[in-house]
Symmetry: C2
Subunit: 207 residues, 2 copies
């Protein structure tokens, strides 16, 4: 056997470069040549690791999914109990607007692909459904108010977090404002939830 390199790692490296370009210039800016330059490799090498541009984009979408998942998992690493975990998950999503702009923007850019390409669509759906299930379970385990339907409330919380992330991304509100909103909402549906010291009782927002 000749020289051995970590095939998967190289692919991920290049895909990450593609995601950076995607976040900077949108999907339109993702070019084999540009990706090669961004990744610091030759154009031929990109061809060596990806069958074509479609393959590259497909792989980038998978890496993107992993990136966001890693981001969220890291946020909940040392959480105390389901309620705290739930809170951290939501805050992590909101904070994508400032700490992980690349995955968030790339995710938006890939959205149009998700409605056209069945495989990407399935990827989005699978990820979204998994998050929803986990969120609903977390919510149910957090001692919610009696009138709370975990399934519907999970959709509400995730929708809220996603929407707030976009608002934060565009600068419509600050991360702390968004965090306060999430906490305020959580406090309403989790009567006995542990209120953290850094969250004011009533969120004040500029504008």
């Amino acid at each position: 056997m000749p020289k051995q390199v970590d095939h998967a790692a190289r692919r991920e490296e290049i895909a990450q470069a593609a995601l950076r370009l995607c976040a900077r210039d949108g999907l339109a800016g993702v070019t084999i040549g540009q990706v090669a330059q961004e990744a610091g490799v030759s154009k031929g090498l990109v061809q060596h690791y990806f069958a074509g541009k479609a393959d590259l984009l497909r792989a980038s979408a998978h890496v993107l999914r992993g990136e966001i998942e890693r981001h969220v998992r890291e946020a909940v690493r040392d959480a105390h109990g389901p309620a705290d975990t739930l809170r951290r998950v939501l805050l992590a999503i909101v904070e994508l607007g400032v700490t992980a702009v690349v995955p968030l923007l790339a995710g938006h850019a890939f959205l149009s692909m998700a409605v056209a390409d069945p495989e990407i669509h399935a990827l989005y759906r699978a990820g979204g459904d998994a998050v929803h299930r986990e969120t609903a379970a977390l919510l149910a385990a957090s001692g919610p108010a009696p009138d709370v339907d975990p399934g519907a409330e999970a959709h509400a919380l995730l929708g809220l977090a996603r929407g707030l992330a976009d608002g934060v991304l565009l600068g419509e509100l600050g991360v702390d404002d968004a965090a306060a909103i999430v906490d305020h909402h959580l406090r309403r549906i989790l009567p006995g939830a542990p209120t953290r010291s850094d969250t004011p009782s009533s969120p004040q927002v500029s504008g």
Copy 2:
């Protein structure tokens, strides 16, 4: 003066074609030639009405904003009182996921432009802030619960609606599920709000 044509109308026609392409293939699929074909005009005509591709995209973003605004305004045309208006606004946003996929997808595709291009960013911000102000005013006029901060709650409601619209777009939940969630949330912050007959008291969601 020679032949007279409605300059603005022609520009909007072509920009609409660009938005359709944008929704179908993302910003990457927006090409002068493709736009011309989609609009049913010659490539030269597109050049005649737009100084360049950047001008076309800029104009498309403006048309997009107008399109969404028109959609929402139409939804609140014959609303009864501020609470009902607020409800219709939020539902209109949620329903973008099914009734106005083109503007919604195009909006996502343009998001990356909004962080790079200051003019597009300002356009997004201006529109978002205006909607937020109107929403907050509507909320304040709807007789909210005493612990509700209209500014923060408006951000929450708009974030929720936007996030749910994406969920609907991807098929994670149905429009009726999303509508029920919005209604459920509204009922919590508006104690004396008029509950419409078609909204169940507790939203049930599949999955």
